[in-house]
Symmetry: C2
Subunit: 375 residues, 2 copies
């Protein structure tokens, strides 16, 4: 993977130079957000700092630690210097700023959306000749369009997720608690090869069903309940998301079928709107207007989908205020839901990759059926 | 719990006024770190902002969301105003700064160690008449000494943790993977009433054993292995930690017994050093010098223990560079370990509460035996 990461870092240098066209370009770029460091180096890097320094020299500084993994040990690839702080109280970003100044940098671009004010002051104080400037999240922008290797990791993550969910559907659900079902799903994700859950698994039943941000409780699944689940595997660092709603027991009631059909229609409208060049706010509108037409606009959250990748919620956002258009090879979720207080509700989430119509349109990664199953 | 939180907020106001003795005291204080907001309001508060405003009016602002829990809904207690942003793209800290300025504040204290530079700039731009200043982490300082209700939550968390670990020890371990054992422990924590794990459960076997920051792998437990586990329950928001090392199968080898006895002696030295008034660096030294005397100083991490509470790693730190002294009613971990590369190692972690000798000395919360068990 080393060439990929070298190329990504080279592109970041170019972008930073171009973004500063009217100003002096930065001599050095400091990346501290862990997902961005992972994207640029292939290494998980909590608490680390990546310096793209003067003269094309890139350095990854890790925190002092007796036994952290070997990500910072002497170079595994020749294109990235690695080191670790010797002072356990030290700050990797401050040390990297010092290194940049020592190497002759005069203008250091930092991630102002990630660096705290205290850390920023620390960097400014160690290297008084160094000016700090913002890089306006170019790594996040670079991460939006995925290469085939990244999409392949997401595809595997989705396969694992479908398998875990499929097995759960074959087991007996009535009488089990939300918490236990959530743990069971997480165990099955691991069984099928996930590194872990992409996010905390959500299982919501009865009056909790359809809540977007529900934390599993000790409520047990009962006959007649809606059961909504949301889970995702992490594979090679990439995270996908699926959400499904089922009805427990014999036949669903009329209101359940109606609500399900409505959310399904909204979710389909969003999926069908996923084409390269479409405005992100228009995809959101496609989903949202189906629910609004049925009087459920209030029940919707601030967005109806988002990008996925090394983080579960990344750019682009699919929301009314979102800027920008979709590109091909951008994986996103489409995830509308309606929750009726005191009654319950429905959520349906998929992860898809935007593809041109000539390539068959959006690629659905999470293929578990969206029929309303009575379990 | 409402009176407790009102009193905590009143104390924070006093501390901020006192800290600014030589300067003008801030008119308002903005708290954004989630654990600090929880401490001051009793409400989990991801993405929220708590404003201690002019005139003694406290306001908790939550992000816009259709169905997040009711923490921000119309006042559940009369002493805290609550609200939620209507704009889904809005930032709660920026909105709180605006609110402070509108209420007539001129100097707003913020948590510079938590606020990002970008957010800080956003706050500064909405309220140009408002000056921003740092509050130097007084909430973290306030959180160090726990009241009896907090210690009681920790005690329950420790009981749950001991139960989960005890059950695991009765099961068959050989042939099972680190990942599965970790998931099993997490399930048992939930079974016994935990809200969740205090931190990702660590299970390390064979040559992985004794690593502090190991992520469970697919390695299976084998006869003759050291098996080290580290886990903790979260209960009412409070998090404890235990670590134990066992030997698998018949009788331990000589090197295993020697290494275990050494780490045990180091851990006991640390525990026995826990008295009110003792310097944090001296507690660390007590632990560390036992290992250094045996030639294992290199194997130790940067600290040998830390405070626990609403976060798993909070003040005080027990490390060579730590400042300050221990007080009574401060819960800390003592957690030395030695890992021999290629061979494995031992970790022993306890959570204890510092108590004066007159009260019987340190209160051990995690009571699972520290004998070297052969399982």
């Amino acid at each position: 993977m080393s060439e990929v990461h070298v190329a990504r870092r080279a592109l970041l240098r170019e972008r930073c130079a171009a973004a500063a066209a009217t100003d002096a370009p930065p001599d050095a770029v400091l990346v501290t957000r862990p997902a961005n460091i992972r994207y640029l180096t292939g290494r998980p890097a909590c608490g680390a700092a990546l310096l793209l320094g003067p003269g094309g020299i890139d350095t990854l500084l890790g925190p002092a630690s007796a036994d952290s993994p070997h990500h910072y040990d002497s170079a595994r690839d020749d294109d990235l210097r690695t080191g670790r702080l010797s002072n356990p109280e030290g700050d990797t970003a401050v040390a990297a700023a010092d290194l940049a100044a020592t190497a002759g940098a005069r203008l250091l671009a930092v991630e102002e959306h990630h660096v705290t004010v205290a850390r920023y002051r620390g960097m400014a104080s160690v290297a008084s000749a160094l000016r700090l400037t913002d890089i306006s999240a170019p790594v996040e922008a670079q991460r939006v369009i995925k290469d085939e290797e990244e999409i392949s990791a997401l595809r595997t993550a989705a396969e694992i997720t479908d398998q875990a969910l499929g097995e759960l559907l074959e087991s007996i659900l009535v009488g089990r608690t939300e918490r236990h079902l959530a743990l069971e799903l997480e165990r099955r994700l691991i069984d099928h090869g996930a590194e872990g859950s992409a996010f905390p698994t959500c299982v919501a039943t009865g009056r909790n069903s359809g809540l977007a941000q529900h934390r599993p409780t000790d409520r047990r699944v009962e006959e007649g309940d809606f059961l909504s689940v949301r889970l995702g595997a992490q594979y090679h660092g990439y995270r996908c998301q699926i959400g499904r709603t089922f009805v427990i027991g014999t036949a669903p009631e009329d209101w359940q079928v109606e609500l399900y059909d409505l959310v399904f229609a909204a979710q389909r409208a969003g999926r069908e709107a996923l084409t390269p060049g479409m405005a992100c706010s228009d995809v959101d509108r496609a989903t949202r207007q189906v629910l609004r037409g049925a009087g459920h606009a209030e029940a919707l959250g601030s967005s109806t989908g988002h990008g996925v990748g090394l983080e579960i919620g990344e750019d682009p956002r699919l929301s009314p205020g979102a800027m920008g258009k979709l590109d091909a090879c951008v994986p996103v979720t489409i995830e509308p839901g309606v929750h009726l207080p005191g009654q319950g509700g429905v959520r349906i989430d998929d992860t898809l990759v935007v593809r041109p119509a000539a390539d068959g349109g959006p690629e659905l990664l999470t293929i578990t059926t969206k029929e309303l199953l009575a379990l």
